[in-house]
Every structure is written in C-alpha cells, then in structure tokens.
C-alpha cells in the first residue's frame, strides 16, 4: 500500500519536475515558429530522459547513494571539480529562469513589471524550503501542478490536424530559418534533459529511503511520470502551433505565449496560463534549489536533508538560501525571463556530457549495483545520449547566438 501511494506521488512529482519554465518557453516557441514540425525533438528528449531518470533512481535505490555523492566518491574530486562548478552555475541560471517565470506570471495578472516581483518571489520560495519537510514540498506542489493539464485540454479542444501532428514526430529538415529551427530543437532537448532533474530525483530517492525493492516502482515512475510530463509539453506545443503558429505570432515575450490559451478558454485563458506557469515554475524552483543544495552538500560530505531543521544542516540550508536570492537578482535587474530561459536551455544542452558521462561509468559498476547494473540496451542509450550531448555541447552556444534572437 505504501508503495502504491509512493508510486502515485512519484508520478505526480516527476511531472512537476519535468514541466517547467523551459518547457513552456520552448514549446511555445516551437509551435509558434514551426507549428508541429519540432515535435520529434520533444519525443526524442522524452525517450532519453525516461532512461536517464530510471537510471538515477535505480542507482540511488540499489547503491544507497545519490548521484553527486557517488560521483565524488568513485570518480574522485579531480574528475568532479570542473563539472560541479559548471553545473552549479547552470543551476543558478535555471533557478533565475524559474523565478522569472513566476514573476512574469504575476505580471500577467497584476500588470506590474516582473522585476518587482523577483525578490518577493524569492522570499516565498525560500520560506517554503526553510519551513517545510521534503514530503510537504513534494505533495503540495505536485497536486497543484495538475493545473498544467489545461494545455492538454486546450490541445484536444482545438481538434488539431492529427496527421500533421503525427508527421511532426518524425525528424525533418527545416524549410526556412534553419538557425532558429535547430536552436529551438536544441532548446527543447535542453529543457527536457535538465541536469537538476537527475540530482534531485536521486537525492529524493534517498530522502524517501528507497531500497532495492523500489526498482520496479522507480521504473514505473520514470516511464509514466516522464511520459505524462511530455504529454503536457506536447499539449502546449500543439496549442501554440494551432493558435499562434497559424496566425503568424512569433513568441518574443511570454506575453505572446500567454495568448495561446485564450482561444480555448476565452474568459479564463490568460489567467489560466498565468496560474499554470506560476505553479509549474514554483515547483521547479523548489526542486532546482534543493538539487543545488544536495549536490553541494554531497560533494563536500556535509550533513544534508530537507527533513532536518536548518539549525541541523546550516551549510545545506544556506546553500539554497544564497542560491535563491542570487538567482532572483538576475530577474530583479530586469533581464528578460524568456531570453534567460532560452539561453539557459541551450546551456543545459551544452553541459549534458557532464551529466551523462558519470552515468556510463557508474551504472556499470558491479560493486555498487550488483545485479541491477545496466544491460546492453541501457548502455547503448547512454552512449547515444553522450555522443548526442557532445554534438550539442559544440553546437548549442553558437546556435543560441545565431538563432536565439
């Protein structure tokens, strides 16, 4: 019974972790600029993320170590030092983008400029983490996160041309504006394969005290949760394609993205978009902050845990505190949240090799995983992601410069 509850919750949480500011931005852009043509990037990213999330959970359940913990221990500080610094900076940017997303959602409903909301939002995120336990955070944000299903409802209500949607699931070459096309494709991959997802998920498995008997539960959560999250992102992409793409509205600003629900829900569309965006970004902001604190505490071997009082793990708690307020500064200084998000998604794609290489090494360690180590198929997937990520690492930043504006 306990496992069934955990399964349901795990699915909800992973939906929350999947769908965030990056998915909203990239799906809206992809749909508005290329209608359904980029669905393949979302499908590809989803298949890859299912495998990687399953591995992070299986690794934690069997070895009883979260990922950053095991990377430092078995691959050494020398190996981990540079990736750790780069991933920490990436976390700060993602956190800034999520705080920007919440702030922009507030701008949509109040009309007051987003940069004014950055610090109050940061305070809210911080208070949430400072005062509550891991399960409270998991459960409350994931239940509220169901509001993002409005994108799926809207997509169905528009009766999109299914043949064209299905055709989009197969990769095709752009007919125009290739730099923008590939930039959005890379950003879509980066938005789904966000590094924080894996560190958060594997540390969460330790917080929830998973053991080897959770391997099956973990597999189900990874598969159902990630597919469900992808369905919401697909919904957003389709709605954007139907509503914005057909009218030639390009998304240069979240304000335009917010129009996408107004045709399916004439009265509520705008507010619904703001609510969905605010809640999805809040859930993600909590996960990103925790992921950063987990990774730092584990890297240095400090005592950590969201269930401990801040006075019991001062360093852990102060890492997320500093991260939240630092990232919020980016938004408070008026950096455009959408531009920050899209740039960050390209960076996500660029840093992917740092995330995938340790998978390849650790998931084959018999001493740690015994019978649960990777089979040939999972390894083939990791090798594929690693090769793909090496290509992405090279092309994503130039593409962000060429196609990002």
């Amino acid at each position: 019974m306990k496992k069934a509850t955990q399964l349901a919750l795990g699915i909800l949480t992973s939906v929350g972790g999947f769908f965030d500011v990056g998915n909203i931005a990239t799906s809206a852009q992809a749909g508005a600029s290329f209608r359904f043509q980029l669905i393949w990037a979302l499908v590809l990213a989803t298949i890859l993320v299912i495998f990687l999330v399953e591995m992070s959970g299986r690794f934690a359940a069997v070895s009883q170590k979260a990922l950053p913990d095991a990377i430092r221990e078995h691959l050494g500080f020398g190996f981990w030092f540079i990736p750790f610094i780069i991933l920490t900076l990436t976390h700060l940017l993602i956190l800034g983008a999520e705080i920007g997303g919440i702030s922009f959602a507030l701008q949509l409903v109040t009309g007051i400029k987003y940069s004014w909301f950055a610090m109050p939002v940061a305070l809210l995120v911080w208070l949430f983490l400072w005062r509550s336990k891991f399960n409270t955070i998991e459960n409350s944000t994931s239940l509220l996160g169901l509001i993002t299903l409005c994108f799926v409802v809207a997509a169905i209500a528009h009766h999109p041309p299914l043949r064209e949607v299905a055709a989009g699931a197969l990769p095709s070459l752009p007919t125009r504006d290739p730099a923008k096309y590939w930039f959005i494709a890379v950003s879509l991959l980066g938005s789904v394969l966000a590094p924080y997802l894996f560190y958060f998920y594997s540390s969460g498995a330790i917080e929830d005290k998973w053991d080897e008997t959770y391997v099956g539960v973990n597999r189900a959560i990874a598969f159902i949760g990630m597919s469900f999250g992808a369905l919401i992102a697909l919904g957003a992409l389709v709605v954007s394609g139907v509503v914005l793409g057909s009218r030639g509205i390009e998304v240069d600003d979240y304000q335009q993205a917010a129009l996408m629900l107004t045709r399916a829900f004439p009265y509520w569309g705008f507010v619904l978009f703001a609510a969905a965006m605010g809640i999805a970004c809040l859930g993600a902001a909590l996960e990103v902050s925790l992921s950063m604190a987990y990774a730092t505490a584990q890297t240095f071997g400090w005592n950590w845990g969201e269930d401990l009082k801040p006075s019991k793990d001062a360093r852990f708690s102060l890492v997320y505190t500093a991260a939240i307020f630092l990232s919020a500064l980016i938004i408070a200084f008026g950096v455009d949240p959408l531009k920050l998000t899209l740039l960050t998604m390209a960076i996500n794609a660029a840093v992917l090799p740092f995330v995938t290489l340790p998978f390849l090494l650790l998931m084959n360690d018999e001493k740690l995983l015994h019978k649960q180590k990777n089979g040939w198929f999972s390894n083939a997937v990791v090798v594929f992601v690693t090769l793909l990520s090496l290509v992405l690492a090279v092309v994503s930043i130039p593409l962000a410069v060429a196609g990002g504006s």
């Binding site: 009883q64 170590k65 913990d69 430092r72 221990e73 078995h74 050494g76 500080f77 020398g78 030092f81 400072w130 005062r131 505490a297 240095f300 071997g301 400090w302 005592n303 950590w304 009082k309 801040p310 006075s311 793990d313 001062a314 360093r315 708690s317 102060l318 001493k367």
Partner: protein, 120 residues
Amino acid sequence: MALHQFDLIRDILDKQLVDKDEKQMGRIDGVVIELRDGQPPRVDHFELGFTVLAKRVYPRAAAWTRRGARQHVPWDEVHEVTQHHVKLDVDAEKTPAFDWERWLRKHIVSKLPGGKEKDE
C-alpha cells in the same frame, strides 16, 4: 556490512566520513600513507579540509586558503569501513570538521526565523 579489502583510491579517498551517530562530517579529502623499510606501507592518517582539496586541483591554490584549515584524522579514530562510509569514533559537533557549520549556525541561521535549535 564491513569491508575487509578495498581500493585505497576508488573506495577510501573521497569517501563519506560519519561520526559515531552516523552524522555526515565531510569526506576523506586526502589519504597519507607511510613507507616503511622491509614492510608494506601503511595508512597513517586521513586529511580533511578545503586546503587539501585545493591542493589536489591546483597545488598553488592551497597557499591561498586559510592555514590550519587542514584536519588530520589518525587511523585510531576509525571505527569501521563500509560500502557507504568510514565511521569515526568521535562526535562530529566537537571536531574542526564542524567549524563552519557551528559558525554559520550561530551567526546566520539562528538569526533567521525558525533557525534556532530550540525551534524543534
């Protein structure tokens, strides 16, 4: 499960250190072995601290860090070595490994709402 044989670099260096109550108290940032005439070398002590880490990444960086930030853990304090940690027979709160933790607790965390130890 206590291990009896392990790889010094793979399994001991960078391993999690815990105190007698299994509270995490840092990682083994350095292992110092002693070479002895006619006998196998033996592990003399572990080292902890940012200075040790800095030295591993960039030797000159160690000079920039605070002197004395290096903590020695003699082998006598080691209670057990398992797959997951090296357990010491000490109270982490009373060791230099918790210097920062204690300082931050006293000067920052306790001044924030809900940060006092009695707020349990």
